[in-house]
Amino acid sequence: MLSKFWSLGLKGIDGFIVSVEVDIASGLPSYSVVGLPDTGIKESKNRVIAAVRNSGFDFPVKKITVNLAPAEIKKAGTHFDLPMALGVLSACGKIKKSADDKIKNTAFIGELALDGSLRPVSGVLPMIMALKNEKSKVKNIIVPSANSEEAAAAKINALKANSVKDIVNYLNGEEELEVCQKSEEVQKARYRGDFSEVKSQAFAKRALEIAAAGFHNVIMVGPPGSGKSMLSKRFPSILPSLSYEECLEVTKIYSVSGLIKSSKLMSLRPFRDPHHTISNAALIGGGSNPRPGEASLAHYGVLFLDEFSEFSRSAIESLREPLESKEITVARVKESIVYPSKFLLIAAMNPCPCGYLSHPTKECSCTPAQVHKYRSKISGPILDRIDMHIQLSPIKYDEWASLPAAEKSFDIKDRVIRAIDIQKKRFNGSKTSANSFMSIGEMKEHCKIPESADRILEIAMNKFGFSARSLDKILKVSRTIADLEGSQDLKKEHIMEAVQYRILDKAGDVALKY
């Protein structure tokens, strides 16, 4: 007897349809799975047998062959348990012929417990999205109850079930399954922290506002306690909210990584702050069973690298690809997988190994050579991809106490969104989505240097020794400053301000000399 059920597989963060075929033949009792399954799937044998038995069915003592087609793509994951168990039950006649219609247009995913109940699996959303995109006839899906909210987010006809028994009953027409319901809590999600909690640091906050508006990468240099982490953690709260499509994309990545704990759609911009001992693979993705790294988990959000110069050099260098192409390609002999990773990088570092180089009261104990070595860990190519450099300093108590309450994130976000709307209009129809991504051609068009600033730029370049690349960054940042102001043209003042966000260029060798 032969049966065929639909299920789904994952490649990168995209799903594909897999047909699970089960054949039961007479012969020596055996159970084999073919079609490039990984070890996890092969192990499913014992779970399937136990789950079928404990659901009140006899497990056929025959020669059973399970095939996962297409057979040339590697498959992984425990969610094939359910379709395999159903395949066995159908092949030995436990599921009625009348269920064929349902089976033909439904996909099944779920991990089995030994008692026959269903356990949640990771990667539900990206797999379901495959049903939405492909021209397949499969339009329905049955998922474990615990995955129901994630399944509902895909806006497809999704049903939830608690056990194999429930599903068999449903297929046999004896019972109905509940439809997956979208959670109401999605809208209520809020960022932790607000910019109003950060008193002082007006300069840094202004810089971050510009960064948010133009999607500029930022590096912050400052002694411990100057508020680098505090500001960065609040940064997502001034970024515009994610659109539904963006939410889906972010959720897909988290789903594949098994990081969706409450099975909800991720509606907040991610904030990832990996520790500096992170391996390259964990940072940009990879592994023998490729998984997205922190750079992808920060997709549409913020990748915050604290103690930037403590990261291994190769880890920092590996960020060059995602910073440039906004995606990461993990190439393996058998396949190559692309993970999106359009993140905003906020790097933070101390000014020197001991941390107190520019501290107002504490004495720095580093030699210039140590400082030089510390800074040189960040190579030119990486620094070139960072548009804004800002210096922070801890604030003294009397200054702090005298400060009024600061502006709320909401107000800053309002200005940021206005600036982004201007950019959207400007780049309408082009691939560019923000000022920081402008091509050279676009820069020529949109960053016309006003006559009054021509001389200023010349002076600045001579005085500070800016490279042509730094100049590009200055112009891009100036463009964003102008957008924040709602100004059509670049003005002298915009450029003058943008120059202040290139301290690491300006510092050049002067800072390190004495």
Binding site: V221, P360, L392, S393, E493, K513
Partner: protein
């Protein structure tokens, strides 16, 4: 003296110079005894021991080193790097250096040593902000009066002195503790290029490829003080190398000055000790200039009444031209001891970020302030 060395003798001198473990007064003594370097090399170690009083160990090491040295290759290296060799007997060997009791046999020079009045400024490798500030000011004023500043291109005060002179378009000489091909410290590469560009020179007694070992620096220090009429010490602890330079200046009979520092700072120990022992107290460039002997002052055509200092009209004119906000911000920056961060500036001025940014930009490009480590401070150099 005044006899030109033959090529063969030059090569022999290079051989002798390659054994820089030995103080040159020993070598001068042998030169006196035997007449020429070539003659010395024809002797055996034993003879140097018996006739010259050298220990056998040192003598055999000297011959070992000198005979294994490849002077042709050394000459090729000198030529390749665009440097030149100045022998003691050559006319352009600095006169002042000639007068010390253990002058170098030869100098490796990149750039030009102009026969001018020179003073040395040396000090701590890890100075305080005060030290750097004072050093920059003094060096600039010295340079403005066309006096050459000699220093050691080390980190800290040395670099600050060279840098300040170079930026004031003055003349400065850097005496290295390593071969000219081994630039140390490396971060001073740009600075060393600028020194040559502005008509100064890098000088070393050591063969081209000599590494900067600790024992080379005291030897180097005697050249620094030897080239100069006066030696000014700015900051340094008790164990500081600057005190070695001061000591060799004393042995050479040159003037020593020290810039006093706060008594609770470790970096003031050296200069304050020197002052206690009788060194001149240096507050302004005037103090240094007044310490010069009459012949040097005559050489400079310098009238002590007409000494130039950096705070001249040019700067005042620029300050007058500033608008109100720029001026306010300039005054705020000038008032701070160690510079002020953008953030604090915004806070103090109670202005928006764009306004302060624009002001800072104006001041910076006008050369009135400068930034390092994110802090803005008054610029001491104006050009």
């Amino acid at each position: 003296m005044n006899k030109n060395l033959s090529d063969e003798e030059k090569l022999s001198r290079i051989r002798l110079n390659s054994f820089f473990f030995l103080r040159t007064d020993w070598i001068w003594r042998f030169l006196e005894i035997y007449g020429s370097a070539s003659e010395i090399l024809k002797k055996s170690p034993r003879e140097l021991v018996v006739e010259g009083g050298l220990s056998f160990d040192t003598a055999s090491k000297l011959f070992d080193k000198a005979l294994n040295c490849k002077p042709d290759e050394e000459m090729a290296l000198v030529e390749k790097s665009g440097a030149k060799l100045i022998f003691f007997e050559d006319e352009d060997y600095p006169q002042l250096l000639r007068e010390i009791y253990d002058p170098p046999l030869m100098l490796y020079v990149k750039g030009e040593i102009k026969p001018k009045v020179a003073i040395a400024i040396v000090g701590a490798r890890k100075p305080t902000a005060y030290g750097v500030k004072v050093c920059a000011k003094l060096s600039r004023d010295i340079a403005l009066n066309h006096i050459t500043v000699v220093s050691g291109l080390a980190r800290g005060i040395d670099s600050a002195a060279h840098d300040s002179v170079v930026r004031s378009n003055g003349n400065t000489l850097a005496v290295l503790g390593a071969g000219l091909n081994v630039l140390y410290p490396r971060e001073n590469k740009k600075l060393s290029e600028k020194i040559i560009e502005t008509g100064g020179a890098l000088i070393s007694e050591f063969p081209m490829a000599t590494q900067p070992l600790p024992q080379h620096f005291p030897r180097r220090n005697r050249i620094i003080s030897g080239l100069s009429y006066s030696t000014v010490v700015i900051e340094g602890s008790y164990r500081s190398g600057s005190l070695i330079t001061a000591k060799s200046a004393l042995e050479q009979g040159r003037e020593i000055l020290a810039v006093p520092g706060p008594i609770d700072s470790e970096m003031s120990e050296g200069p304050n000790k020197l002052i206690k022992e009788g060194a001149g107290l240096c507050e302004t460039a005037m103090d240094i200039i007044l310490s010069l002997p009459p012949e040097a002052l005559g050489n400079l055509n310098l009238n002590p009444g007409k000494i130039k200092t950096g705070s001249d009209k040019n700067k005042e004119l620029k300050i007058e031209k500033l608008n109100k906000l720029d001026r306010e911000i300039y005054e705020m920056i000038v008032k701070t001891e160690n510079g002020i961060l953008m953030d604090a500036l915004i806070h103090k001025a109670k202005c928006s970020v764009p306004d302060v940014s624009a002001a800072v930009f104006e001041l910076e490009t006008a050369g009135l302030i400068e930034m390092s480590d994110g802090k803005y401070r008054e610029s001491l150099i104006l050009n």
